[in-house]
Symmetry: C2
């Protein structure tokens, strides 16, 4: 693997870099993240890589298996349901708060985000579109000015990206940006109740677009499958 150009990677920088790659589906669920590989790729020692992997494991993006290594997490159907259950408890009310606090600058930012997402979709950059879609939700939490809830939602969004990688059914990504457009309208009107309802339905639509029948997620490797 080529060395990634960067003067000096910190633990957090590496964790963020990996999280982004996971979020964009460049590192699909089950991918092994070898310590030596990563250390060489980033040009540092395993010490920092280990710390970054530990950080990602606390966000449930990486599964650590003792003496076996780190793997990009593979949420089960149950975990997938739970993640969206949690999001539906947090995000609608957060959208409500955000609507009431919305400024012109915030609206412009969200609008730009939607535009970029469209552009990414048109260019066939699905990973980037997914990342931007997540950023939209995160931005809403930021606008609601709830740092703590924002941190929780941030993790849930990243996990949602893994869930989508495993269980996405429809290819119709249009509904995504449309829902965001509708939310933006409600935000522009500072209509908290409408934003709350739209967010709630948006999340329900997302879950509905998943195929969570009890098919086991693809194993990390053929070997893994044989061990069961």
């Amino acid at each position: 693997m080529n060395k990634i150009d960067h003067t000096s990677w910190s633990r957090d920088a590496i964790a963020a870099d990996l999280e982004r790659a996971i979020h964009e589906h460049r590192l699909p669920p089950g991918t092994k993240l070898g310590e030596d590989d990563l250390a060489e790729a980033y040009g540092i020692s395993r010490t920092i890589v280990r710390a970054a992997l530990l950080a990602l494991s606390h966000r449930h993006l990486v599964q650590l298996r003792r003496n076996r290594g780190a793997f990009v997490a593979q949420p089960t159907p149950r975990e997938a349901r739970e993640v969206f259950e949690a999001r539906s408890l947090l995000e609608p009310r957060t959208a409500h708060s955000a609507a009431l606090r919305m400024t012109e600058a915030d609206l412009a930012l969200l609008n730009e985000n939607i535009r970029d997402e469209h552009a990414a979709l048109d260019a066939g950059e699905n990973g980037r579109a997914l990342l931007l879609s997540g950023q939209f939700h995160l931005e809403v939490a930021r606008i609601a000015d709830q740092t703590t809830i924002e941190a929780v939602i941030s993790e849930l969004i990243s996990r949602s990206s893994l869930i989508i990688a495993l269980y996405w059914r429809r290819r119709a990504a249009l509904c995504e940006t449309q829902a965001h457009h509708a939310l933006l309208d409600a935000f522009a009107r500072k209509d908290g109740a409408a934003a709350e309802e739209l967010m709630k339905n948006h999340l329900l639509d997302l879950v509905a677009s998943l195929d969570l029948r009890n098919v086991a997620p693809p194993p990390a490797s053929l070997r893994e499958a044989l061990q069961r």
Copy 2:
């Protein structure tokens, strides 16, 4: 510091041990957690201590300051409000679900928990009582069978303990166990709506019992105070 007897402490065991000590207020907010001290106390090298501290920092129980060390976190009044805001979004609905799924064994467990809490209070073991009070809330999430939400609540409860250490006003701890008793009644009746409402009010009471006027939390040390 004396060496704590244990054949071999793992990273998670140390993190759990420290978290418990923080939860019970044996390690008050601002306490410096020196790596050498902990390594000697647990009879292991700094490597594992660092990993445990990193884990705790991800739960916002420990604040890591580069080149300065690890300190038991000192939530700001704002953070305190946000933590209870998050709890009030998650816990009432979770209590609702729990009520519908409640079994006799669950009821017995919760009942025992309340009894222990009473006993601890009578014995003047306030730290232990606080830990048990937190466990009650965590147990509810477990009964609701929502692992993901349970993990989030677990962190919020631990942080709440730090908040209470810093901002607790009333000494009247009676309301605590009374609220838990009322919840238990609703659970026994499998009355989800009542449980949801009781939990909501219980959390509101908790916030109301805090003094979150913008007094800065006590500094980690005299030195810290002078630096500002």
